[in-house]
Amino acid sequence: MKYFDGLNYYEILKIPENSSFLEIKQAYRDAVSIYGEDSLVTYSLFSTDEREKILKIIEAAFFTLIDGNQRAAYDRMLVDSGQSDTTFISGQSQKQSEPVFYPGKAADDDQLADDATIKNQADEEKQLSDEILSKSSVSGKDLKKLREALGVEIHEIHSLTRISVSVLNAIEENRLESLPPDTYLRNFLKLYAEVLQIDPLKIVDGYFKHISRVQNTD
């Protein structure tokens, strides 16, 4: 039996060194689904002690990488100790906002089935984001639903984007009277969409359409 000997936090979570916030979260969720106490995947493979040790390492990896400052320090340590090349330093080449959800980016069913790599949860998220992107207008409720499906907390969006929690809540609750001026709102929505890795243009357009629709019916 091999454990995680000699692996760094990125390797333990099986993610590239420039992973985004969302990718780290998803990798952590995957790891827990594999190594968690109730997981069928590793049933009987480890003793209780071994499993606890493994979960502790996974948690340490997650909490270090999810925190901007700790991650930067960890990355520096990797570079300084020669475990990583200097071409990457967290924050510089770190992938900020590559959207993974686009409208009409349909999965190739045949290929998916052939590869036997269909992921239940990922499928659900894809379906939800497709549903949102296919709408001409996007409400705050839609955004909240997607955020929750992705397991992202509102305070996490706040700490990544510096948008105040009250504004984020106003956006999700469609409270028009509490929304900032359009130019700010446009930018905030873009940042919000980038964290959730969903097409920012569609979200900004959809949200503004939603607002004008609500205002017109008033």
């Binding site: 039996m1 091999k2 454990y3 099986k14 995957d30 689904s33 594999i34 069928l40 995947v41 590793t42 049933y43 009987s44 493979l45 089935a113 052939d114 036997a116 790599t117 269909i118 992921k119 239940n120 949860q121």
Partner: protein
Amino acid sequence: MTEIYPIGGGKGGVGKSFISASLGALIAKWGHNVVVIDLDLGASNLHTLLGMKSPKLGLNHYIDKTVRGLESVAVPTMIPNLFFISSFHCSMEIANLLHAHKLKIISAIQKLPFDYILLDLGTGTNFNTLDFFLTSKEGILIGTPEPTSIENFFRFINTVYFRILKQTLKRSEFHSAVKDAVTEMSGATGGTHDILKIVSKYHPDKVTDLKNKLSEFKFKLILNQFRKNMDSTLGNKIETVCNRHFHSNFQFVGNIGYDGQIHDAVYSKTLYVHKYPHTQSSNDLKKIAKKITGNRRPTSLPKEIS
């Protein structure tokens, strides 16, 4: 080139014989010469799943020297290109096969003139099953998505590892302390780690060799009796875990959907993939068979397009 795939996985009732028969039939239909060998000595019933009566000729005639070559007891089946070696007439005593006979069978299997040789193994982790499994550096492991099956599945890998290491240690120069320690161990749980630890104490230079020995093996994983509401990522995750925590190469090759008609086919003693070629389960089996043959060209023309 002959490819030998022992089909094992520990737990009984997970479908080893069913999958051996099905994959054999599909690969043969595509024009490859295939033999399936029933090595579940003492409990053989592969012939039933192939839709045939137990043949008169079998492995016992090779062991008792009624025939000279093992290929003479390979009988044709209802599928062209698919041959079958039965162990139906191997009496119960033969389940406790003599070591010399076992080696004779293994070496004869390795020389059989077929493109694909599938070995249907018995349940559990007794020495015969393990040694037959180690006829080849490649193997197919079958499980079902249930805790009991997953448990036996990991136990099977652990005992296979233990057997490989034990045999390697027996054959080469090792400190007697290592040999003694290993003799006392049982492969039931995590013996590999302990063996490697002892070896690293006395022969730190040989640990890598042993690990390399384990890394020569390639295992394909199949999950059978898969129901629609189950987590479809299970197989991929097990593959990930095995590749991370064992030393060999593991490849998940697919789920086989649960289908009540499979039981009907068994009851009516017919070959399922032949009788129901277009069901979900048959399609699943075809995809898996395709992954096993890859792009290899058949030796004869496919007899039937399906």
